[in-house]
């Protein structure tokens, strides 16, 4: 019974979550905390915080970990399948149906019509990332990081993964300044 409930819970999360993984978080909270009471509110926010310290999509880390916590390895696979497979199958079905009409002019027109919309979505996303960054670092340092990234990625043709690993290493290697002011929050 638990496995069926787990499957249904994450199926609903997958099918109702518009706007990518982060949009699924409140839905996961509704299912596992409010509806079934499998996990306490505080534990869920811990899981979310820890999920954010790791790279990769957040929705699958949440589904996999919560499934494992509630019902072991089978629960983990169950929750992952429920949240991922139906939507993947749907996308494959839609794109392959479109592709089978590829030779028609109007289908090619559809592909072209969607380009500017995706450009706007990505543009808005870009601006969101920039604005969030300036809240962290201020305009000056963000401009520096942006110019550094443009040079390495676009002019030098460095693989994006190498740039990101470089930035991560920098955070760990850089000696901590202003230790006194941060110490209060660090020790527990």
């Amino acid at each position: 019974m638990k496995q069926i409930n787990l499957f249904m819970a994450f199926l609903r999360v997958g099918l109702l979550g518009y706007g990518g993984g982060p949009a699924a978080i409140p839905l996961i909270q509704k299912e596992v905390v409010e509806r079934y009471g499998w996990i306490e509110e505080e534990e869920l926010s811990d899981i979310l915080a820890i999920g954010n310290t790791l790279p990769g999509p957040i929705a699958t880390k949440m589904a996999g970990y919560i499934g494992f916590r509630i019902a072991g390895v089978i629960g983990m696979i169950n929750a992952l399948v429920a949240s991922v497979i139906p939507t993947v199958a749907l996308l494959i079905f839609v794109l392959f149906s479109l592709a089978s009409f590829r030779e028609y002019e109007w289908v090619q027109g559809m592909t072209r019509g969607v380009l500017p919309v995706v450009a706007v979505m990505l543009g808005v996303l870009t601006w969101g990332f920039i604005k969030k960054s300036t809240a962290d670092f201020g305009w000056l340092r963000v401009m520096f990081l942006v110019i550094l990234s443009v040079i390495t990625l676009q002019l030098l043709g460095v693989h994006p993964a190498i740039l990101i690993v470089g930035l991560i290493l920098y955070v760990f290697i850089k000696p901590e300044k202003r230790k006194g002011s941060e110490k209060a929050g660090e020790t527990s």
Binding site: G14, L16, G17, Y18, G19, G20, G21, D46, A49, I50, T53, L54, P55, G56, P57, A59, T60, K61, G64, L80, S83, V84, T87, V88, L90, L91, I92, L95, L98, G109, M110, T111, R112, G113, V114, L115, P116, V117, V118, A119, V120, M121, L125, T126, F129, K132, S133, D136, V142, V146, S149, L153, P160, A161, I164, L167, Y170, V171, F172, E186
Partner: protein, 176 residues
């Protein structure tokens, strides 16, 4: 060999991609379009558009579709495994250790320092898609569609699924 390439194409973006699914989009595009040449910019835009019009996490939808298109069901499984498994396994194994670090300022800084680089990757992708539309559709259609979709999604807050559907219909009628 194809399975190994599919694994790498999704493993690398997911192991360095801080900031959730949307941050992975430009990294996956780099592998799928530029590194392996499995898709053109236009085809990738179509996957993204329809992926955004459908529910569920975007990272796994992209992975499942690309894997399936390249190498069938097994290809989809490999791509999904590479997307989901590495960070999930880290999370399961290191839960206790990670618990200690979740409030550490250095760990919090990780996604912050990666963010401007992701912004640049997203910005470059925006430029490529807009430029591709310009050469496919010309100035007038491109500017109209850019303006209309910005107005609908950002000013009127219309759900993206409706805007994408409208753009598909517009394309079928006026851009054919």
């Amino acid at each position: 060999m194809i399975y190994w390439h599919i694994f790498l194409a999704f493993f690398i973006p997911n192991i360095v991609g801080y900031g959730g699914g949307p941050a992975l989009i430009p990294l996956v595009e780099h592998e799928v379009v530029h590194n392996y040449g499995w898709m053109t910019v236009d085809e990738f835009a179509e996957v993204l558009a329809l992926g955004n019009a459908l529910p569920g996490p975007i990272a796994t939808k992209m992975a499942g579709f690309v894997g399936f298109e390249q190498a069938g069901v097994l290809g989809a499984v490999v791509a999904l495994f590479a997307t989901i498994a590495p960070s999930l396994i880290l999370m399961l194994v290191l839960m206790g250790v990670l618990m200690k670090f979740k409030d550490s300022p250095k760990v919090k800084k990780l996604s912050a320092i990666v963010r401007p680089a992701i912004a640049v990757l997203l910005g470059l992708m925006t430029y490529r898609f807009a430029f591709s539309s310009l050469s496919d559709n010309g100035w007038i259609h491109t500017i109209f569609l850019l303006g209309a979709s910005y107005f609908l999604m950002e000013v009127r807050k219309v759900h993206p699924a409706f805007v994408i559907t409208a753009a598909l219909v517009y394309g079928a009628i006026f851009l054919a």
